[in-house]
């Protein structure tokens, strides 16, 4: 039992936290009855524990609990879209670049190097400032900034997998390229994709919040944790709860996903163990 806990303890805790966050996101309408956008100016800036508002209200009298719970929807939706987009696009490009070692792959990897030579958050921020604000554009910006990691990792893996005997055997049997790539090479690089995805997931969510915090990304009144934190700065002297709860929700989400990611890495790939 104790060996199980040392090996899987983090995974258990991580999955518990992540499930909690997913539950909050999915069940938000049943957990709270207030509308996260419904303002009530007379009831503004009520402290936590006020009747009907367990976490208090914001400057417009909107229920903070409702906003934090609905914020989980926004965060998870953005994180999930970004991870799916980058995993498919980056993974596919990495697969092709690793399998056909021609000049297009080499050019692509040089571009990836250039992109990696720039701070991720600054890159995503610059792209977002240029393509424009809003939910769709923040997903696009983060994905454009994030695909390179998959391409790099997958290409490296494919380079080694395709030297293995079963690939040569499949080639000798006269398998088509597409079949070889997707039936024999891809399954062997999938664990790496899963590991990168789980580690990137939290990074995307935190980056989205940071960008929205700076005034780009998701715009008010959409209840996103980052823009809620941004608004809370003006009220820090009078209403600490506006900053405390959305940030705590964000940190908890990142913690849960990171723990799951660490655990997956340990279980799926002992080489990367930290």
């Amino acid at each position: 039992m104790s060996r199980f806990l040392t090996r899987h303890g983090r995974g258990v805790v991580g999955i518990a936290i992540a499930s909690l966050v997913i539950l909050a996101a999915v069940a938000a309408p049943w957990l709270v009855h207030q509308d996260p956008l419904q303002s009530d100016f007379a009831a503004g800036l009520k402290p936590p524990g006020s009747p009907g508002h367990p976490l208090g209200t914001d400057q417009l009298g909107r229920d903070l609990l409702a906003r934090v719970l609905y914020g989980a929807r926004v965060a998870l939706f953005i994180g999930l879209c970004c991870v799916l987009l980058t995993a498919v696009v980056g993974g596919l490009l990495g697969l092709l670049a690793g399998y056909f070692e021609g000049w297009p792959g080499a050019v692509l990897m040089r571009l990836a190097d250039v992109q990696l030579s720039f701070p991720f958050i600054l890159l995503a921020l610059t792209i977002n400032a240029i393509v424009g604000l809003g939910l769709r554009n923040i997903i696009v910006s983060l994905s454009v900034a994030g695909w390179v990691v998959y391409a790099r990792v997958v290409r490296g893996e494919v380079l080694s997998v395709k030297q293995r005997d079963f690939v040569h055997a499949a080639q000798a049997l006269g398998l088509g390229r597409a079949r070889l790539l997707f039936r024999h090479v891809l399954p062997n690089v999938t664990p790496s994709i899963v590991i990168v995805a789980s580690l990137q997931f939290a990074q995307f969510i935190v980056a989205e919040a940071a960008i929205s915090f700076l005034g780009f990304g998701v715009q008010p009144p959409t209840p996103a944790w980052g823009s809620m934190l941004s608004e809370s700065r003006d009220y820090l002297y009078v209403a600490w709860w506006l900053a405390a709860f959305p940030g705590a929700a964000l940190a908890l989400t990142a913690l849960g996903i990171n723990l799951v990611g660490d655990w997956l890495r340990d279980v799926l790939d002992p080489r990367f163990r930290v």
Partner: protein, 308 residues
């Protein structure tokens, strides 16, 4: 060595050139900067004059050629907002950012390496548990939230520290801690795993068998040999630290390059954005180059490859 230095220089120029090109075209595709920049009530005549003066009426290829030839001479144009040379405006802010990033890096090292080494040496102890627990938390807590909470506690409640701006040593405390927290957490974990790997090596066993004291075994035989992953991460992180400074500087009103970049992006002050991108990519590639030189010092085996 000379050929190596030349090829590194070539790479640096390529990276900087490609980043600038990418941002230039992104900016131009993003819409008419004049409309976004000037006030709503401007007259059409002035609008056109402004465009003409900035050369926005020329074909894109012409604009790009002009931009490249000027940028090669260090001329990124005038800031649209401040009407001053963009590169100068950016360079003026660089010392503030470097001093913040530098002290955050120092703090990262001073906290993370001892914690990582002690956790590895006393593996499974309470210290290990607490240290790594703190590291996992530090990786999950976003810097900008930590910053807000620290401002609330130390400035609003206790009144010990200034809420922001640059001034005495006290002004450094919160921005530094906030910037360092994430990187210190990750570095502590890497240090721990790297030291654990090295402790299993036979030369460590030999050193112990010779009767060397634990400080020498750890300090001399283990730490130097586990330094490669730590230095690699530090190199990668120093660049990311510059990115993290963008957010930290905004929270603490730190007059650095990151805050200027955010403001320039918000104001669509594109000459300043391009000059900042230039400076970021030059700094970042220089740091990576220094890290590569450090490898040679830490691991003589890599020197042979450099010479070849």
């Amino acid at each position: 060595m000379r050929a190596y230095l030349l090829s590194r220089l070539g790479q640096t120029v390529l990276v900087v050139f490609l980043s600038l090109t990418a941002v230039f075209f992104l900016v131009r595709l993003g819409g008419d900067p004049v409309l976004l920049f000037l006030p709503m009530d401007i007259q059409a005549k002035d609008l056109d004059e402004f465009r003409e003066r900035l050369g926005f009426n020329d074909p894109l290829a012409v604009q790009y050629g002009r931009f490249v030839s000027r940028a090669a001479h260090g001329d990124f144009g005038e800031s649209l907002r401040y009407r001053r040379d963009a590169l100068w405006l950016v360079l003026e802010r660089l010392p503030a950012t470097l001093s913040l990033a530098g002290s955050a890096l120092l703090l990262t090292f001073c906290v993370a390496v001892p914690v990582g080494v002690l956790s590895a040496v006393r593996r499974g102890s309470l210290l290990d548990f607490l240290g790594m627990g703190a590291a996992v938390l530090g990786q999950a807590v976003p810097g900008f939230w930590l910053g807000l909470m620290m401002i609330y506690l130390f400035s609003v409640r206790l009144g010990w520290l200034p809420t922001g701006g640059m001034g005495g040593p006290l002004h450094f405390v919160m921005p530094c801690v906030v910037l360092a927290s994430f990187y210190a957490a990750r570095m502590a974990r890497i240090t721990r795993s790297s030291v654990l790997d090295t402790l299993n090596e036979e030369y460590v066993l030999t050193a112990r068998a010779k009767g060397l004291g634990e400080p020498v075994v750890i300090g001399k035989h283990t730490l130097k040999n586990s330094a490669i992953p730590i230095v690699t991460l530090a190199g990668l992180d120093t660049g990311q630290l510059l990115g993290g400074a963008v957010i930290t500087e905004t929270i603490f009103a730190w007059p650095g390059l990151g805050r200027l970049t955010v403001q320039a992006l918000l104001n669509r002050d594109f000459p300043v954005v391009l000059a900042a991108v230039f400076l970021f990519s030059v700094t970042y590639t220089l740091i990576n180059f220094l890290v590569d030189l450090l490898y040679g010092w830490l691991d003589p085996r890599t020197r042979a490859r450099v010479r070849a």
